[in-house]
């Protein structure tokens, strides 16, 4: 029983990480209609920026994490402004452009840091919290707290501020929102950089616990696909629910079935849910691709 609860806590921590990735991905898609193949790259950039700041410059880990999030946001802003903005209405074009940028970014990372997983980059807090038969690592607790706080902050931004209302208006109907005076040219880069910052922050927090290597982005992108498809495209709430569900399934299936079989179980669940609800849990009519 204790083992099941401990696994559930790990699932919760995983879910919070995945929620950060999924919210960013679904924000970009919901608001701009862009399938961002660079999103997994944001996770990798965040990890490497945090590594460079903490290990390379010797600054404290919290500063490295904040720096990584800001750095990734800045990169996202530049990508949107110079590459994506002009083609924002063309799904295929933006998909390939962001994919091309991902390939360039991965190569730049390999050139600077090498193709091997980095060593000497670990989470500053170690140890395990023991409570009866329950085990939960301190690093996972910190990640869970930071991710949950960030998710709440993002929700507040989206649902409680004028900027969030404007973002949601853009997502609902861009033409009407623009007619009301909301300027896509100002909203899109900020939304893109916000989403990339979420990915970067997650990468900075999680890679010291797991592993940091240049090709992590592809796996993260696949997870983002699964979560947004499960939750319903463009639905922040759906993506969050799906992320926690995926985290739980992954944790339990990894412990009780083994890694690859766990992935297979996850895919089967996705298939079944899509059979029942082709637009995901909280989805709406899909945009044209």
């Amino acid at each position: 029983m204790e083992s099941a609860i401990s696994t559930g806590l790990i699932g919760l921590s995983l879910g919070s990480q995945y929620a950060m990735i999924a919210i960013g991905f679904t924000l970009i898609f919901g608001i701009m209609g862009v399938i961002n193949f660079m999103h997994g790259g944001g996770y990798v950039i965040g990890g490497y920026l945090a590594f460079a700041v903490s290990s390379g410059m010797g600054l404290p880990f919290p500063i490295a994490v904040i720096g990584a999030a800001i750095g990734t946001a800045l990169i996202g802003y530049l990508i949107e402004t110079f590459f994506v903005d002009k083609y924002v209405d063309d799904h295929n074009a933006t998909m390939l452009i962001t994919l091309g940028i991902y390939l360039v970014v991965t190569t730049v990372i390999i050139i600077i840091f090498g193709p091997e997983p980095v060593s000497g980059f670990s989470f500053p807090i170690s140890g395990v919290l023991r409570w009866g038969g329950l085990y939960f690592s301190y690093s996972n607790i910190v990640v869970l707290v930071i991710c949950t706080t960030t998710i709440v902050a993002v929700y507040s931004l989206i649902y409680r501020t004028r900027y969030g209302i404007a973002l949601r208006a853009m997502a609902d109907n861009r033409a009407i929102a623009t007619a009301q005076g909301i300027r896509p040219g100002r909203m899109f880069p900020v939304a893109f950089s916000l989403a990339m910052a979420l990915a970067g922050l997650t990468g900075a927090l999680v890679t010291p616990i797991l592993v940091l290597e240049p090709h992590l982005g592809e796996g993260q992108l696949l997870k983002a696909f699964i979560m947004v498809i499960l939750g319903g495209l463009g639905s922040v709430a759906g993506a969050t629910i799906a992320a926690f569900a995926v985290g739980a399934v992954e944790a339990y299936s990894s412990v009780y079935l083994g890694g690859s079989k766990g992935a297979l179980v996850l895919f089967i669940i996705v298939l079944v849910i899509l059979l029942v609800r082709p637009s995901g849990l909280l989805g709406r009519e899909a945009r044209k691709a």
Partner: protein, 336 residues
């Protein structure tokens, strides 16, 4: 001016004819570098026909590697069992993915837009994991090694030249099937592409034509899988990695998704460039990324789409000038 349908037909026929010159590689016995390049181009081209068929109905499908795996593995299992006739292997590698696409189509074709894209992407991953996890005839993570080469009329097709010839033949067959399908259902595919709800309201059985496209796309992808397995003489899950779907999509979009010539040109261009870049080792992926981004930004309609647009504009200009002069002449007569 000739009707659009006729012009499309000519461009699509060029898409098949362009494959012909590759025959010089086995016939003139060009070296291993050329053979390798020919294999890569033609297998990539054949796979991208699978993407092209679906894009004719505005569906961006990432299922190609999964169907390639089905076709490739089916042929490999059959060849290992002693059935090495080329025609049989090609038929099986087409039919098995097509049959598998029937239930999958029921599942996948209910999805629309971006859900379809994501779902087909995930489907590849399912196939990958399943191939690794499920032992038995597919060999699990070891795959199937030592696949015997195909034979035709008792002739062994295992020499390097013959392997290339089989790849060319497979590409030609795939191009022919793609050409036949997209022209037979041209009007229906175009109506779905332009306005699906309108097409449906006018009585076009959208689900039926989507299914036809999906099944053909699966079969053509299976042929690409067969060509790959035949060239490598092995079937391994890593040969059908889900991210390779992006390459095939890139060939189609960069070349131009409007005509059969598009994926042909896209595959030739991108595979050749990535081979040139591979000499740069570490920088190869970045150079490919720059090429991809640049190509989409400079030519959003794809190479062939942009060329056709330019030609049509050039042809339209003289006619426009002629019409203006005629109007001016008529106006002159009236005032006189």
């Amino acid at each position: 001016m000739r009707p659009r349908r006729y012009r499309d037909l000519i461009v699509d026929i060029w898409g098949i004819l362009v494959i012909g010159p590759f025959l010089i590689v086995p016939l003139a016995d060009w070296g291993p570098l050329w053979r390798s390049l020919t294999h890569q181009i033609l297998i990539g081209m054949t796979a991208s026909f699978g993407v092209y068929i679906m894009m004719r109905m505005r569906l961006l499908s990432f299922t190609v590697p999964a169907f390639m795996a089905l076709g490739g593995y089916s042929a490999a299992i059959l060849a290992k069992a002693g059935f090495t006739n080329l025609l049989v292997l090609m038929a099986v590698s087409f039919v098995v993915p097509t049959l598998a696409a029937v239930p999958l189509g029921f599942l996948v074709l209910r999805l629309k837009g971006v859900y379809f894209i994501f779902f087909t992407f995930i489907l590849n991953e399912v196939f990958q994991v399943a191939l690794f996890e499920i032992p038995g005839p597919t060999g699990g993570s070891d795959g199937i090694a030592g696949v015997p080469p195909a034979t035709l009329f008792n002739a062994d097709l295992g020499s390097p030249r013959m392997l290339v010839l089989v790849t060319i033949l497979t590409a030609l067959v795939a191009a022919g099937i793609t050409f036949a399908t997209t022209h037979r259902y041209r009007a229906e595919f175009s109506s779905i592409d332009e306005n699906e709800p309108l097409a449906e309201s006018l009585g076009v059985a959208v689900w039926w034509y989507r299914t036809i496209g999906f099944l053909t796309s699966a079969g053509v992808s299976g042929l690409a899988g067969f060509a790959l397995v035949h060239q490598l003489t092995a079937a391994h899950p890593s040969s059908f990695a889900s991210f390779s779907a992006i390459d095939y999509v890139a060939y189609t979009i960069v070349g131009g998704a409007g005509t059969l010539l598009g994926p042909v040109v896209g595959a030739i261009l991108l595979v050749t460039m990535s081979n040139l870049f591979s000499g740069q080792g570490l920088y190869a992926a970045a150079l490919f990324g720059i090429l991809l981004t640049g190509a989409v930004m400079v030519a959003p309609r794809g190479v062939i789409g942009e060329l056709r647009y330019l030609v049509e504009r050039m042809q339209a200009r003289p006619r426009g000038e002629e019409a203006t002069r005629a109007t001016q002449r008529e106006a002159g007569h009236e005032s006189a």
